[in-house]
Symmetry: C2
Subunit: 622 residues, 2 copies
């Protein structure tokens, strides 16, 4: 490499430092020191290595860059300023309300694929993108991610590393900015770059140790990565936090703190040449740069006989396979539970649309979100619903990424029976209801489960489908239509004389409500039974209008195989709360840590069966 090029990239690095200091001085908060350690890594990536278009930063064929250490975003914003995408005015709007130049990166910006800022998630996103690049797009774009040394303590990093090596993602490069210092003290491995290298090597990477401030060494490492086939590469870059900033470099207590603006002059003085006009290598070609992800139908409608017993988890698998018949862009991810979630149904005819993630739910979620970026696929993730709690933070970050990803959790509630509480999802509705603009569907029979899957594929955003373990009778014929935000009234004798109550169930409890309806009728208590189906958005209209048929003081009983917090009862109570009618909402739910037993015994133990509903209804019906 020519000496002038070295100087050019060193100049860029220092301009990035200056810009990062300027913006964090303007915002009076942020991370100039974590930016400074990464300045050469970013300058070499953006101006010596990567292929992209400044005009269309998320072009399908462009190399990807994920800033896993999201707090260092000033250096990333500075790079896009250097490239000409952002103006100085824009970067100086860092962290201000009306600016998308936020404190941590989000896809509100057109050059960001995924939100970062919760540490240790970038490699998982990047692995998902690299998987799609290699096996789905079959394109030669490359994926780079920059991690901090501190965040490498996160287990999610190692889940992603294993995934990347299993799938031989040689289009993936992880760069670790080993700047030695964490937030509150030194990071655990200090400058022991050997240990980082040994770990990545043991997890199947080609590891390279470099001086992270030596632009020639960095460029050589990228070239070595490109020449390495059959495995991903980790570049362990020894750096100094606050590099180049006088009286700050390599010192503790400078995490997340702006530095004095006077420091800028010293760094400015190191810049030899004026900013060049950049000519950045063009993105590679991708067969279809824009995929059609809309209008995906089940290849054949659900075809169940009313009353036949089919588990909703099995119907999910069937629907997934049917959607894959219709679209090559459906990708199914599972974490070694595919024969329980029935995600394995997709494999028979579409083996290339299935991605085994093994027992690593965090990475499954991050990889799936990554796979969905730039509209390259519609990812479906499945595991036991309980185990999505393992990836709660990744799902949370998915919401901030405005991700298009579908989560299907099986084995909901105590109705799984003998396996016991560790396998029972009882907080999954709360978890997914807390996703802003997220959709939560809870089909009760096979027909609605297939339709829920179809709805999920066609809804842009995060969708959760709760499926169950037990085989239960089919309630709906093939021609029944389902929609977001739409519940179904299955029984309604409220027009008849007598005390009245409205029963709301979903999944296994819907059948208990239907049974209770019969028993109550025999005792002269009139009821309506609502199949909630769409937990979020909730169908306030159907619920309130049905309830009003009971008279001026309607009594509602919700019954759910879930804890109280954030579940169906709270969803209904909070939906009806602001309405003027005097609704009374009673809720049956799981009241303590469950235990092993048969499903029927457990429903009975917690009173969420027909008997429990009838007992309560007899007390409260009005």
């Amino acid at each position: 490499m020519a000496t002038t090029d070295v100087q050019t990239l060193n100049d860029v690095a220092n301009r990035l430092r200056v810009s990062a200091i300027e913006m964090t001085c303007a915002s009076k908060s942020g991370h100039p020191t974590s930016s400074a350690s990464a300045a050469e890594i970013v300058s070499t990536l953006f101006f010596g290595e990567m292929r992209y278009s400044v005009q269309a930063p998320r072009e399908a064929g462009a190399d990807r860059f994920i800033l896993s250490k999201g707090h260092a975003c000033p250096v990333l914003y500075a790079a896009w300023e250097e490239a000409g995408l952002l103006t100085k005015e824009q970067t100086l709007s860092l962290r201000k309300l009306n600016s998308d130049i936020e404190g941590h990166p989000t896809p509100r910006l057109n050059f960001i694929d995924v939100a970062t800022g919760s540490l240790g998630q970038g490699l998982g996103y990047a692995a998902g993108m690299a998987y799609v690049g290699k096996y789905v797009d079959k394109a030669d774009y490359r994926v780079y991610t920059l991690l901090g040394d501190g965040e490498s303590s996160e287990g999610a990093v190692w889940e992603a590393a294993q995934f990347a090596s299993i799938y031989k993602l040689d289009n993936l490069v992880a760069i670790v900015d080993v700047n030695r210092l964490g937030q509150s003290q030194a990071a655990p491995l200090g400058h022991n770059t050997d240990v980082f290298a040994a770990r990545f090597t043991a997890f199947g990477f080609h590891s390279i140790i470099v001086d992270g401030h030596d632009v020639s060494a960095l460029l050589a490492a990228y070239a070595e990565a490109k020449a390495t086939k059959g495995k991903p590469t980790a570049i362990i870059a020894r750096t100094l936090k606050g590099k180049g900033i006088p009286d700050v470099e390599d010192l503790e207590n400078w995490h997340g703190k702006p530095v004095a603006a006077e420091k800028i002059a010293v760094i400015q003085a190191r810049i030899k040449n004026p900013k060049p006009t950049w000519s950045i290598p063009k993105p590679t070609t991708v067969a279809e740069s824009q995929l059609n992800l809309g209008g995906i139908k089940l290849s054949s409608p659900p075809s169940y006989k009313l009353g036949d017993k089919v588990a909703t988890r099995l119907a999910y698998g069937t629907a997934l396979a049917k959607l894959a018949d219709s679209s090559p862009h459906i990708l199914a991810f599972d974490a070694d539970t595919k024969n329980s979630t029935f995600a394995d149904k997709i494999i028979a005819n579409h083996p290339n649309q299935f991605v085994e993630c093994f027992i690593a739910e965090q990475n499954m979620v991050s990889a799936a979100i990554g796979a969905g970026c730039r509209g390259r696929s519609i990812p479906f993730c499945s595991t036991f619903a309980a185990f999505f709690t393992r990836a709660a933070d990744q799902i949370r970050m998915g919401a901030i990424s405005f991700a298009n990803a579908k989560f299907v959790g099986s084995h909901a509630g105590v109705s799984i029976g003998e396996d016991g509480p560790s396998q029972m999802a009882l907080e999954d509705l709360a978890l997914f209801r807390a996703i802003p603009d997220g959709v939560v569907l809870y089909p009760s029979d096979a027909t609605s489960a297939e339709r829920a899957t179809e709805i999920a594929a066609n809804h842009r955003g995060i969708v959760f489908i709760r499926t169950g373990r037990p085989a239960l009778p089919v309630l709906y014929t093939a021609d029944e239509t389902f929609a977001l935000g739409q519940s179904k009234v299955l029984k309604n004798t409220l027009a008849q004389a007598g005390k009245k109550v409205i029963l709301i169930g979903a999944g296994v409890t819907l059948y208990e409500a239907l049974d209770a309806h019969k028993q109550l009728a025999a005792e002269g208590i009139q009821s309506a039974v609502i199949d909630l189906f769409s937990v979020k958005p909730i169908d306030t209209k159907t619920i309130s209008e049905t309830a009003k048929q009971a008279g001026p003081n309607p009594v509602i009983i919700t019954v759910e195989d879930h804890y109280q917090a954030g579940g169906i009862g709270e969803a209904v109570a909070s939906a009806l709360g602001p309405l003027p009618e005097n609704y009374t909402v009673h809720s049956l739910f799981i009241t303590g840590v469950p235990r092993s037993g048969t499903p029927d015994q457990l429903l009975d133990l917690f009173g969420i069966n027909a008997k429990g509903i009838v007992n309560l209804a007899k007390k409260v019906a009005a």
Copy 2:
């Protein structure tokens, strides 16, 4: 080792296999094959290595055993049957409703410390116990944990491994049962024991590869572990799933399936000698076998001047240090955020009561839960509240473990401001409200924050305290008393004429409610302001009785810096739902993904400030 001893332990292993098959045949479900691969590991640990008391399995000085691969519990139950603690009748009650011999282990059994069954968590628990053994109890009990190869894909395993090596836990032994087969297919590393060894070595362990069915090799490995100083040991045991079961051993599709009872005879035939009378080595001595964890007081009462501005997170740190003045059993865990959560306040006078966990929240939670086992400490964990979502599954399992652990999450809500959504906890109340019997406290000022911390220390179980970033005025004098389940009415002019509304807030929104109260008074609207404080258990009595003072159709407005799902509004709506009065509950909450901005701007953007409350109150007050 004498040949007879080898035969004895081989006989034990086969009796364990027989028993595991018998119990899973009786329950018609469960995991005999995952038990069979571990039979020699368990026989050598329980009858050749570990020191414990059959009469008091959780004695303070006993060696610990954590079955991380919890689904293999039949082999563990069989071991305790062999040892004489359980009867055959008991083990045959596996997975039945009235039996504590559950499908996965829980501490309902007196020989289980922590629930397992969500994979990859055992090493974290074990590391916490080993930390306490080495540094707190300063005893020489040892901690053993048995992992599966499949679950070693979980990142939490590697977080725990790093923690164990940082703290040189040479009293800790991780044994990996490399039986090659997962649930739905082969595990990713097959029988490549070298790779497991390389990974553990890179994470700071002494690694030993053995034939996991060779009892002599296993005993030698335990001895080598004991002789290894300054680092934990990993024993990589090559095994066969279903070992010894004809036509099942090492074959796919046998995960979680009972095998034919006829297989028993073949295994029985291999047993040479009758069951001996066991004489198991006695537990080691621990200075205080029973610690007094009750009645821990702040060493001095809160002493703030009304109106002084103090962040609740700072008051938490102050209280933590004061509790440590009073008790050596308080242990504070933090994940490299101690200078933000103010957990670092404990270090000045009690450096040995602080455990830095670095950026690995999953392991922080598991290690803390482990540290609290057998009453050896009262663990407090702190990080940004948002990052407890990273450990949602570990917290969920903590509930199933009936753990005594305290979680303190700072930086709640949009009121953190400029850092942006990735750092804002907006689902933490939902997460912790979903813990059965869990407590959720949300102090609004420094005085109540100190008292909340004191309450948490003295409440046996899981407690979450939500603290905030901004410094806010002190509301309570030192003599104010606080209790679980108790809210405070701060303002109440409901007795006066006019339209009326009840305002419920907590944290930053309480101050907005107080401000709104003033503004509403100026407009002739009477209101009460309730400081919720105890989110769970919720103070239904104070809320409903205060509300009733507004007349027959009380209007309530809740306002929270949290998403709707599972938050304060839903807690209040569901608490009032079953009551006969016609309460109307309106809720203000965060309605979408937030962004960077100043705290005030963000409160305004989502309408959770005084202006938003006043606007709504003017519409709905009645």
